[in-house]
Symmetry: C2
Subunit: 339 residues, 2 copies
Amino acid sequence: MKKHLEITIHHLAKELKISASTVSRALNDNDRISEETRKRVQQKAIEMGYRPNVLAANLRSKRSMTIGVVVPRIDRYFFSSAISGIEDYAWTKGFSVIISQSNDLLIKEANCIRTLYNNRVDGLIISISMQTDDDKHLRLFSDRNIPILFFDRFCPTIKSDRILVDDFNSGYKITTHLIERGCKRIAHIAGPELLNIYKDRKDGYLKALNDVGIPIPEGYLEVTGLTKEEGKQAFSRLMSLPNPPDGVFCGNDTTALSALEYCQKYQLRVPEDVALVGFSDEPFSSAVTPSLSTVKQPGYEMGFLAAQKIIHRIENINSVIPFEEIVLPAQLIIRNSSI
Amino acid sequence: MKKHLEITIHHLAKELKISASTVSRALNDNDRISEETRKRVQQKAIEMGYRPNVLAANLRSKRSMTIGVVVPRIDRYFFSSAISGIEDYAWTKGFSVIISQSNDLLIKEANCIRTLYNNRVDGLIISISMQTDDDKHLRLFSDRNIPILFFDRFCPTIKSDRILVDDFNSGYKITTHLIERGCKRIAHIAGPELLNIYKDRKDGYLKALNDVGIPIPEGYLEVTGLTKEEGKQAFSRLMSLPNPPDGVFCGNDTTALSALEYCQKYQLRVPEDVALVGFSDEPFSSAVTPSLSTVKQPGYEMGFLAAQKIIHRIENINSVIPFEEIVLPAQLIIRNSSI
DNA sequence: ATTATCTTTGCAATCGATTGCATAAGTTAT
DNA sequence: ATAACTTATGCAATCGATTGCAAAGATAAT
């Protein structure tokens, strides 16, 4: 079973009676090697089943051809589709993708980043955790000038590229939509302010109401962790108010679903009694009844673009490229829960 | 900005006036180094901000502390939750996870595997593509005695560990459930026979009907790619039969959802006119109306277990551990679409 | 014929850690 | 005091590629 001795460039060199350096250059299609030798070497490499040892090459060249990705949870659709986009592009450029998840914990996030650093990834694509209120762990990369790219959720104190969704305008559009369909009392279930995305959604909501002079009653702004359970509680508090809302902008689809389930349980009609809008267009959102109005974030495209940007930066690591903040538009999808 | 010269064990050695080998051993808590020296070295390492270069260590030790994962698509919930489980366990053992997706294409799968091999991953966890009818690319690993572990979808000609879901019994249980609720004409929308999972589900279906002596009318067994579109077409063909089914076991939840949408469009009542059962318990399945009966596969747990098994094998690469086929039970979840 | 130039290849150091073997120092037994 | 072990540390080779510099050979220019 141990018949497979690994073939190295030295074996090829000996076989071809040339030096290892020539073999190395030939395999990399270096101009300095004659066309003829290159052909011979490449032919022999195939013949002998040569497989480059990426580790050795990376050690020497100080590039790993690998990008690290950190997301809160891999199994959330938005993130898995972003990873899918990252992987698809990276693959075309010969980069591998190491993933890790922070589980929305700062400590875990810091550990992931340290591990990725130790593995000498060439760049880091990250969507920070809900707890990240500190940038010390990120400095491991930024201080060493290793490219970081934030997507969706970013750390404002680190200078770097960012690919974001236009949460402010989305929040504004959602709220305006609710106003236009006739809602008079519009509440919002927000997420932790620490994260730009939730703050922006909330600000969009506030601005939209303010622009048309609708005041926000006491208790109409819930701030939660946006889990299924917290969503249910928050919605229940809203509906127990003396003057409950007739339209609720939920910070994500999960809480919107909680709200929907609450309505089913207590015989509230959606959207007649209360209109609902979520955020993210999870796979379930179009399938529920009534189907859920929401905002579709281009996860795959963001990931693809993120990979393009960071690989471009990696490949031009010595040029000064100004940092970019790309804000992608998101699409308001009006479905039956707010029609 | 270039203030960060990388600290190596040689820098530590010089600083402490000892040899690099001692530093290396001290950092790895080797017995041969005195307790006192170990402390001093570890202290200094922290003080100087030393970060081990995993690449160098791996090159020498011929282990990469990395496992490669290949799945058809990262953004499918079953796979992303499995990856989540893999990553969670691997992380506790200091392993990194490189992921790649085959997009259900054999060629892409082969390329992914080659890349993972070149990166010298210590093991491969894979769920094969729908097209994989050949094992040449997998031999790259198996011939070299590098651990492979299949989960969910496997290649029967490669000897290795497997972690599977009990698709046969699940198919059997689903069909029996439909029989018991009173369905007389039960159809099945199956996936490609090439994959064990779809063949087993179908066989369970056939066996269940056979056991109670129900014959299967002409045209009641559709074989498709199980996409949304193909599902819709297959279901439409079924319902256009002179004697359409009153119960359909759909090969996955996606096609079950297609069926549901078809029923809504053509005013068929579910489950009164036709009962539906899917497979996989996608996030949308519990949320749709009527909620979808299905089989819940333990994705996260499978991934976690897969990581445990393969890392155990990696850590005992020189012992002969017999290959294991673990078949996990899956849970039939009866919801409104077939109650 | 001689020098200059270009092309093609090889030598040897290097990346940063690991590890078998040798050695020095310390301890115990004879 | 010497042999026989232990214990702690260092030397130097090694993993498999990359790369600056030198050199050899071929060709062109003077």
